[in-house]
Amino acid sequence: MFQVKADILSKEEVIPGVFSLTIVSPEISRNAKPGQFVHILCGSENDNFVLRRPFSIHRVVPGRAFEILFRVVGKGTEALSRAKIHESLDVIGPLGNSFTYSEKLESALLIAGGLGVAPLIFLAEELAERYVKLYPMIGAQEKAKLLCYIDFKRMGKKTYAATEDGSIGHQGTVVDLLNRTIHQIRPQVIYACGPKPMLRKIAETADEFGIDCQVSLEAKMACGIGVCLGCACVTKKGYKMVCKDGPVFNARDLVWDQDEVGRLPSGGCMCETQETQDSD
């Protein structure tokens, strides 16, 4: 991982409220793997918010730069959307683990809800170079909000789309689309990124069909490098950190059920009681 002051090479508002930034960093570009993320300081020193914001590496310009794709949802992303070309950003990366695949992988289904598509383009480009047969599946409310449809098309991939209003592709959710098509496609592996309830349903489908499934999770994080232990998620082997053990997890290792989470042991100093501690 590197901490760099990196220039913005280009910026585009892809659809209203969603921006892509290309950021110059040979270090990050050379070392990045699909699924990894960068941690960016958004806004100026005078803003009264403090923490960095995590963004998936959307694609790399080999040896030179990398791209992120983000939606404006709050003050950090709002500040980042105002950054100008040639301005420099304080970026740490590449961080986290990555999607994994075997040398022998022949087919993969890539499924995303909304901005979840961000890390999947990088993955698709890498897998395409290895001649893996890809089935991209993306969803949005309407055609105009569908992200990266063109990108997959340009790669020559048949792209499965789902829109809530049916303005393109299947009318309904991307999960419906998956459930309708999975038995024909039968991929060796499913890679998924998006909101947690969606990931959970995808994991259930994958499980039913005995298909390996890797999901990229999100969590509020502070350090991004595995020291603050803030971005815990619940796995069958206990708490794991999204920033360092993840963001990519095997769906089978995760505990999805909130009730199950409720029964987990928890405690500050109290090693063996259910009491919790206020803070550290």
């Binding site: 991982m1 901490q3 502070a222 595995g226 232990l229 100093c269 501690q277 803070s279």
Partner: protein, 304 residues
């Protein structure tokens, strides 16, 4: 003109007064990719407990104006794991190591002090007394002068190492607690730990943290911390480690002026992994600019 940045913290010889705050720096491993750990005045490990602690349910953190709330819940692998795996790694940096410990009972604190006895590379023990004492009905050791005194005495009886007691700001009179721990044998005090706080998501009506409340840290708490360091410096005669919202050299200098002999940097490490190093350089530049030759010339020099 060279500047002397070294300080002696209750027998711990530090080449400069800057160290990371417990729980915000891991063992230094991750940070070693961004900076030279050897340049630090000391290393402070995350709180270790007698047995492993799994930590609290997520979400564990949330950002607030100029700060953050955390309820990590002292997740750690226990002291045996620490001694076997973490300490040997930390020793490689050849800087003084302060081990921060927390227990549920006086006996647990005592036991850990004994476990640390004679261990190579341990330069001091910091007692995290913000933990609730189960026997006393869950009240934090650090929230009662009597309990704080007892836990310090229990540790003192079991160690010859420099003993630092880390004070919680969640009390009415921090000077009273400071006096109690010093009378029980503390060689130094560090303050402050996090300030209890709460944040609510108005979209969902739910608390932002699963634990409901958490500890506030970052620039938001700095004025509270500076005031408390200044008050405690008036009260006791032992060195103080100033902690709370330190992000820049200027912040650190405020604490030194208020009476801190050393400072610890917490939340700022998450934003800028080079924060500690930049603070050290900044303090040096500040002294040079004023043609001061020794850091001790500013410690406690606030004009009141």
């Amino acid at each position: 003109m060279s500047v002397n940045l070294s300080v002696n913290l209750a027998g711990i010889k530090m080449k400069n007064p800057v160290m990371p705050a417990s729980g915000t720096f891991g063992t230094g491993r991750e940070f070693s990719e961004f900076m030279d750990i050897k340049s630090l005045g000391a290393l402070v490990a995350k709180t270790v407990t007698l047995r492993p602690v799994v930590g609290n349910k997520p979400p564990r953190i949330c950002e607030t104006n100029s700060g953050m709330l955390n309820s990590i819940g002292l997740q750690n692998e226990g002291i045996d794991h620490f001694l076997k795996h973490d300490l040997p790694y930390m020793r490689k940096f050849k800087v003084p190591i302060i081990v921060n410990i927390a227990g549920n009972t006086l006996e647990e604190y005592a036991q850990m002090c004994r476990d640390l006895h004679g261990v190579e590379g341990v330069s001091g023990i910091e007692l995290n007394i913000s933990c609730p004492n189960i026997k006393a009905g869950g009240i934090a050791f650090g929230a009662s002068a009597r309990l704080a005194e007892q836990v310090t005495a229990a540790a003192r009886y079991n160690t010859d190492l420099p003993l630092i007691v880390k004070l919680t700001p969640n009390v009415y009179n921090i000077s009273k607690i400071a006096r109690a721990v010093v009378s029980a044998g503390a060689d130094a005090v560090s303050l402050i730990n996090t300030v209890v706080g709460m944040s609510i998501n108005i979209k969902t009506f739910e608390p932002c943290l699963a634990n409901i409340t958490g500890g506030l840290s970052g620039p938001a708490i700095k004025p509270i911390a500076v005031r408390m360091v200044w008050e405690v410096a008036q009260t006791v005669n032992v060195p103080i480690i100033g902690i709370g919202g330190i992000t820049t050299a200027e912040d650190a200098i405020e604490f030194l002026l208020a009476g801190a002999t050393a400072v610890a940097v917490g939340t700022a490490n998450f934003i800028n992994p080079r924060a500690t190093i930049e603070i050290i350089h900044g303090i040096e530049a500040f002294l040079k600019e004023r043609e001061l030759t020794d850091i001790k010339q500013i410690i406690g020099k606030v004009k009141t």
